[in-house]
């Protein structure tokens, strides 16, 4: 399967959001973004950017879905923002109706995707966030499949 990487060192939450905006502008229906990283790594922060890039201008509307498990936002296409932090595994992810959303007409952004890896489609984009210091993060985008590889190529170009 086609794979490509894009690595970015973010010096602040603002830079992380800006990267997210750029990515969000490139996403289209059916794209799945798997977010991986420890507590406080910036998963929800980059999602704020991605959602903005998808046309939701009020960043405040993006909140952590840890408790409610999934949020839906109306951008230029529907956005499903999942959080698997409290889920015990694939079965519970399916129980909240993830398949309908992931294979639906919008973009799915899945925090703690490594906890529900069995629910990911064959093709997706994985973002790994790693702590460097209090404000700095390494952000690695890795594509799985053709569609997300094209996204990474466009990220390299922009």
């Amino acid at each position: 399967m086609m794979q490509r990487k894009f690595i970015f060192k973010s010096r602040s939450a603002c830079e992380t959001i800006a990267l997210g905006v750029k990515l969000g502008e490139l996403l289209s229906p059916g794209h799945v973004v798997a977010l991986v990283g420890e507590l406080g790594a910036g998963k929800t922060t980059i999602v704020k950017g991605i959602v903005q890039g998808l046309g939701v201008m009020d960043r405040r509307s993006v909140k952590s879905p840890t408790f409610s498990l999934v949020h839906r936002y109306e951008g230029r296409i529907p956005i499903y923002h999942f959080d698997a932090y409290r889920l015990e595994g694939d079965y519970e992810m399916i129980a909240i109706g993830s398949d309908e959303m992931i294979y639906g007409d919008g973009v799915s952004l899945i925090e703690w995707a490594d906890r529900v890896s069995g629910c990911l489609p064959r093709e997706y984009l994985k973002i790994t966030l790693t702590h460097v210091s209090n404000s700095e993060r390494y952000i690695e985008l890795q594509s799985y499949g053709e569609r997300s590889t094209r996204i990474i190529e466009m990220m390299h170009l922009s």
Partner: protein
Amino acid sequence: MLILGIETSCDETSAALVKDGEEVVSSIILSQDELHRQFGGVVPDIASRAHLESIIGIIDNAMSDAKISLKEIDAIGVVNTPGLIGALLIGVTTAKTLSMILDVPLIAVNHLHAHIYANNLEHDTIRYPAIGLVVSGGHTTIFLSESATKHVLLGSTIDDAAGEAFDKVSKILGLGYPGGPVIDKLAKQGNHSAVLFPRSYLDKDSLDFSFSGLKTAVLYYYKGQDVKTGKSKSLSEQEIANIAASFQEAVIDVLVDKTILAAKMYNVNGILMGGGVAANSRLRQRLNEKSRESGIPLYYPSFKLCTDNAAMVAGLAYKKYLEGDISGLDIEAIP
């Protein structure tokens, strides 16, 4: 007037019977713990399936506890927003079905407004307008409550809820779940000014909250530069208690300051606090002190009415019924 309340917006399946919006006749709450005991295995606490399996039994229990038959119910109140869609649907569909079979009115209730109403079940001196503060695992929201049924949103969290911050910090410190009660207890043995964690006030006069940065600050303090390797500093029990107390104080400072700010901005006659975090003893103490200084009476429910329950739903449904705010069978669950 006897109202059956149904609440399935998140992890708890609950049914209650409340008379005239104030007398709790019976209240049954099935939490995750009981599910585990009852079924002897891991149950997906969040899945709508868990609600589906238990809702009928829970309603039965509420009826038999009260020694009342379904025919004696005058109306049904149900939470239809906000919450987990699949979970809400179970309660809403059950309530619609019962309303149709029994031919009684159906009243849709907002979960957050119900948390504020929990106070009215135990206090009869509440005067409006008031500030309604709902703090829980999923919500941190300030309302201007013009009456028991009318609430204007003034602010809410822009990232993590306060209760979520407690849970995640508890996880970082290796203290277990749920984080609220654990940190509350441990903080009593700690020094709350040992570590100066950041307080996020956002813009001046903003009534929104942000707790995500605080969580990260605790992580960095706890793990130091070893955060990359995932190793933890070896800290003494006293030091952990100090971190817990200092974290809790940072959350509470912001909650208290913004609540009092809102109370003064809108010149209210009371503060009504609800939600799971309203059970926190330090928050109660600090908000009590500040509200007394400001001469604004503070109300919060007893512990059993702080967490999700259907009694608050049945209570608020009564008030809405009196105002003629009755829903049709076409109400929807809105996440």
